[in-house]
Symmetry: C2
Subunit: 452 residues, 2 copies
């Protein structure tokens, strides 16, 4: 019988993360301190983040950064994760393409987010921090950080985007079961939240607003640090365990991917699966295509502008050189809450500029059709976010069928959708729609941003 | 670093199931055809079940029964499952006991139930069946059979116990996403359902009633067979892949269990983890204790009567020699929907009679305290059903602490609780209570049953 899964042992958990910046042919532009207008320093960052995360954030030289033993020990709860040959999906598509997925949904919180939650909580603990804050969209990041915070004995407050707080109440319960405090965002507990509620009482929130609230609480609370689940370099760094494991597993399968796909919100899971493979493109030994799959309703990579912009709605964060729809862009209430973010990190933005990767924007209905086919053929009900990657993989397999080619496609199944069943209910009932945005809206929302 | 998980490869998936009856020192009493009052024949059974399942049901001689290739192929979606050293839980309990759990929650439907859903659907398909029916309590079995039915191209109707249908709407959505039809039970679609609704319009259902409805639909539909998720011998047989894998994994860990624990509804997961280890007790080479953990509110093993009783509420099934609370026992609306069943199968009942295993009954609040501690220390939010096994393991570890001993404890984590977060919400809010039943109720509900 053919192998379905490629399974590693605990000793195969990587001992170091891969820092893609060290290998990039053209480095990303620096992030800017909006007060001094100077490139961001480790000191600037460590006012908000742990010192170690701050130092990793600005590390442009070390190709590999060691994973602490305490982090690898907690990784063992769910890592290594399986690489799976999607033979059922291939059969349904009647394709000669070989489709593989890295199954990050096996983590106890249901997604890849623990990969960065664990080291970030660990560094905070090690540096004497007692309280941390964060934001969460669909709740995947918040659930992961809740578990990591409990493990390392930290108190945690999570600002959860209101639309997801209401759509996905089970994720709130999961965070509470792990012992975290959860607040729907925008909330009255911060200046940033009060301002937006006053202006727009029915606003259902966005990741940008939730970040503002979490940052504000961290800044105003002694002994408290802020922790971020995506966008920044150190988060992408931690997620490279995904791709480093997948590289070994593709070797077990005797193949190498022609195409690597991840869904794209802030970039953490896309970066995690892609960067380790990308280094072989940089060295010229491989010519893999890398595709970031984003929602049609939040198309920063395919239709956004390259600008210096804030990472949050209120403008508390550093200015990041990014493809953006504008930091006050209000995304449609799609069910892929983790992808409702206005911008991309500086590294991915630079890679797009240098045509070292691609992006595809996918309508909501196409993602749920792909998700349902995947569930019925591979058994796993995927998260609405991850379904963007599945839809992109299906597009590539269908294109290969038309062209008569047989590429090796690898995508990251970043999470399962068991907490997202209301979304599937809506899809089954025919209540879901696509959401387009106009060029005019993008022009308007990015008009005030500083060009580069 | 110490190993946390013990991981097998796909080639380690067992090639045969273990049939405990062949090795039992005293065989179970026969099931009885209520019409003829004679021991049940394969022909009697195959009017309702697939021929192969019927033949396995009455097989008392073959110690091992081969697993078809098609079944092993689909097992690869999630098997082998990990064996995990619960080091976080051990630390929290400050115990010298070594606690291991077999993690069946990694299956895409979140529980061990696929282990039998796959072969049962496969046999139906192979024998030309087009439609199947079943019942489900919490929805774990229904979700599993929905996926297996889709895989083998069968139509499926699932009767879901009403209390769970309302408590766990996501499980209904999961079944629908896999393509199954789901009906809340009791329903107006069957005579059995109509009768009970007429007598008791607010009845929230039980597994016994749902079985009656599914059996009635199967009998009245040409080309349709009925498929059961627990209680019967062939279901327990299929579940022995759990214990057979765990045996190899305990060997990898260099240990052998002194105590093996499973939660107990109809017996499928308890039997699955226990029977393969039990054969070494039969041969005298080992002296492991086996503990079935049942709810205090549904205590058939600890307080039920040994009688010939029906497997369902309406009396459609064969008469089974079982420990029972009476087939019309109405269990309290606890959140562990999968354990709300009045009786035990004939094999487990015989093993209890022969003191070859034990049972423990656990109050609801103790199970949620155990579940929360487990979630915070091991990361996985357990199903309310599985939490009974965790609570029993914690009891044993605490007893060992008092005695100064250090036993090796193995329990089966039969499923995760991500679809059961309303239960956790109630627990966090302090709304959950314990449910006791009186001796008088048990005497009354079993008074009419035939003694043995």
């Amino acid at each position: 019988m053919q192998s379905k899964k490629f399974i590693l042992q605990e000793s195969d958990i990587p001992e170091a993360w891969y820092n893609v910046i060290a290998d990039m042919p053209e480095k990303p532009l620096p992030m800017i301190n909006p007060e001094t207008r100077q490139p961001l320093s480790v000191d600037d960052l460590s006012a908000l983040f742990s010192k170690e995360a701050s130092s990793q954030e600005l590390n442009t030289t070390d190709r590999f950064i060691e994973i602490p033993d305490e982090v690898r020990e907690m990784y063992k709860i769910y890592r290594p994760t399986p690489l799976v040959r999607a033979s059922g999906l291939e059969k349904a598509l009647d394709t000669r393409a070989h489709i593989y997925f890295k199954n990050e949904s096996v983590s106890p919180v249901g997604s890849h987010k623990l990969n960065s939650a664990i080291p970030q909580a660990y560094y905070c603990k090690k540096e004497g921090v007692t309280n941390i804050t964060t934001e969460t969209g669909a709740g995947q990041w918040g659930a992961a950080l809740s578990l990591a915070a409990k493990h390392f004995g930290l108190n945690l407050a999570v600002y959860m985007v209101k639309v997801s707080y209401n759509q996905k109440p089970y994720r709130r319960s999961i965070m509470q079961t792990y012992g975290a405090e959860v607040i729907a965002s925008p909330s009255m507990s911060t200046r940033a939240g009060r301002k937006i509620i006053t202006e727009n009482p029915n606003y259902q929130g966005s990741l940008g607003t939730a970040i503002s609230e979490a940052v504000e609480l961290a800044r105003s609370t002694p002994g408290c640090k802020y922790v971020l689940g995506s966008v920044l370099n150190h988060v992408a760094l931690h997620q490279t365990v995904i791709g480093l494991e997948a590289e070994k597993q593709m070797e077990m399968a005797g193949e190498y991917p022609d195409i690597v796909i991840g869904c794209f919100g802030g970039g953490s899971n896309f970066s995690g699966i892609s960067f380790p493979f990308m280094r072989h493109n940089f060295s010229g030994s491989r010519h893999t295509r890398f595709i970031a799959a984003e929602p049609e309703s939040c198309p920063k990579l395919t239709r956004g502008k390259f600008r210096y912009d804030f990472g949050d709605e209120a403008g508390y964060t550093p200015m990041i050189p990014m493809f953006t729809l504008g930091h006050d862009f209000a995304p449609a209430n799609i069910h892929a809450g983790g992808l409702r973010y206005h911008g991309a990190g500086s590294v991915v933005s630079q890679l797009i500029r240098n045509q070292l990767m691609e992006a595809a924007d996918i309508p909501q209905l196409e993602t749920f059709a792909a998700a349902t086919l995947f569930a019925q053929t591979e058994g796993i009900i995927p998260a609405p976010e991850s379904s963007h990657a599945i839809a992109a993989a299906i597009r590539e397999a269908r294109r290969a069928n038309e062209e008569g080619s047989a590429p090796v496609i690898l995508f990251n199944l970043s999470g399962h959708g068991l907490i997202d069943m209301t979304a599937y209910d809506s899809y089954i009932a025919g209540d879901l729609v696509n959401h387009q945005i106009s060029d005019e809206q993008i022009d308007r929302d990015t008009a005030d941003l500083q060009g580069i």
